[in-house]
């Protein structure tokens, strides 16, 4: 009898945890890029050369004059031509920047690893893409996942809120993750600084 009760508790607890994760996903905050319509700041030619910042150089950045909120993002790829995609995650500033052909097309506040599960620094190519990934290790949904390392570090959609952290992944707002997932390809470089 007590084993049945034990089983019920385990199953019930698991269901409660799952529903909590579901809430997190639905509560994901996002703000559309079009509303912000940021201006763009073009860098000088000598500043824009490859190597100074990123493998393809940085030619322009989105001009956002106020701190982004947690869960907020800006995406503006209007009149940005095709080109190689480069993603730059800045852990100290807690922001991610997505570049296409050297022009920044998106930015958001990120979550990153804490404690003994820190997000690794360096430049990593995207080794796998999975739209509806569900982590076996953490039993958690990781939508729009871009995997960076063999041991599971990835960029994926998260409920980005103040006070949250990850187990080493980079968490980005869900809508932002969807756009990034569509825009990035396997092999694109991600620099985590």
């Amino acid at each position: 009898m007590s084993s049945i009760a034990l089983l019920l508790v385990v199953v019930g607890g698991g269901a409660a945890a799952m529903s909590h994760i579901g809430e997190d996903r639905s509560a994901s905050v996002s703000q559309s890029a079009s509303a912000a319509s940021p201006t763009r700041l073009f860098l000088k030619k000598d500043e824009a050369r490859p190597g100074a910042a990123g493998p393809y150089g940085v030619r322009s950045l989105l001009k956002i004059n106020r701190p982004l909120e947690y869960g907020e993002f800006v995406w503006d790829d209007r009149s940005v031509p095709d080109g190689p995609v480069w993603i730059r995650a800045d852990l100290k500033r807690q922001v991610i920047s997505v570049f296409r052909g050297g022009h920044e097309i998106g930015t958001a506040v990120i979550l990153y690893g804490v404690g003994n599960k820190e997000t690794p620094l360096g430049t990593f190519p995207i080794i796998a893409k999975k739209k509806d990934h569900h982590s076996i290790t953490y039993d958690a949904p990781m939508p729009f996942m871009l995997r960076l390392t063999e041991d599971g570090v990835a960029i994926h959609g998260s409920d980005v809120r103040r006070g949250r952290a990850t187990h080493g992944c980079i968490g980005i707002p869900l809508d932002f993750a969807r756009r990034l997932f569509d825009g990035a390809s396997k092999g694109d470089l991600v620099s985590i600084v």
Binding site: S3, G12, G13, G14, L68, E69, G115, D139
Partner: protein, 182 residues
């Protein structure tokens, strides 16, 4: 990095993360595990374990410098006992009390204290140093997280019953079908 780029990124940054601001919330659903633990009365075991040494001491006659099993400063053990609120342990505690009266004497009386966690230190001789460890019995987990034998037995009985009834059901059906088939 470029100065212009740094300035722009600084402007949009929500600031550096402070470790204090992070409220750790594991996705791995730690809650169910705690609930299972509470089902098997683990928290009280933790209390006892926290207050008692972990190394099991054999119930051998103790050396003079060792602390007696019962000392006047054994508040921790009393607290643990009251937390457990079980009659047997209370009785054991009472059984320990007499040697305390004779602590100044030759002592060495056999230690009969045998709680679930095994024996504690031996009988005492002489006065213990004031800062000596209290010598409370080492507390292993009083309740195992593994289901109890009774639970297993009941489950096996249940399966046995199901198997038996299935067997009976099959046997009872056989005489009915065989005449028709013949």
């Amino acid at each position: 990095m470029l100065d212009a780029m740094s300035a722009l990124l600084d402007a949009r940054s929500p600031g550096e993360r402070t470790e204090a601001a992070i409220h750790s919330k594991s996705i791995k659903a730690a809650a169910p595990r705690h609930r299972v633990k509470s089902l098997v009365k683990a928290p009280k075991a933790g209390d006892v374990a926290a207050q008692t040494p972990q190394t099991p001491a054999a119930p051998v006659p103790s050396l003079p410098q060792e602390a007696p099993i019962v000392s006047s400063s054994d508040a921790a053990f009393e607290e643990a006992v009251s937390a457990l609120e079980t009659v047997p342990v209370t009785v054991q505690q009472a059984a320990l009390l007499p040697p305390a009266g004779g602590s100044g004497g030759a002592g060495g009386g056999g230690l009969i204290f045998a709680p679930p966690g095994g024996g504690g230190g031996g009988g005492s001789i002489g006065n213990p140093p004031p800062d000596a460890p209290t010598g409370t019995p080492p507390a292993t987990s009083p309740v195992s997280p593994v289901p109890e034998p009774g639970t297993w037995l009941m489950m096996l009985l249940g399966f046995g019953f199901i198997g038996f009834s299935m067997r009976r059901h099959r046997e009872s059906r056989r005489p009915q079908t065989s005449p028709a088939s013949v």
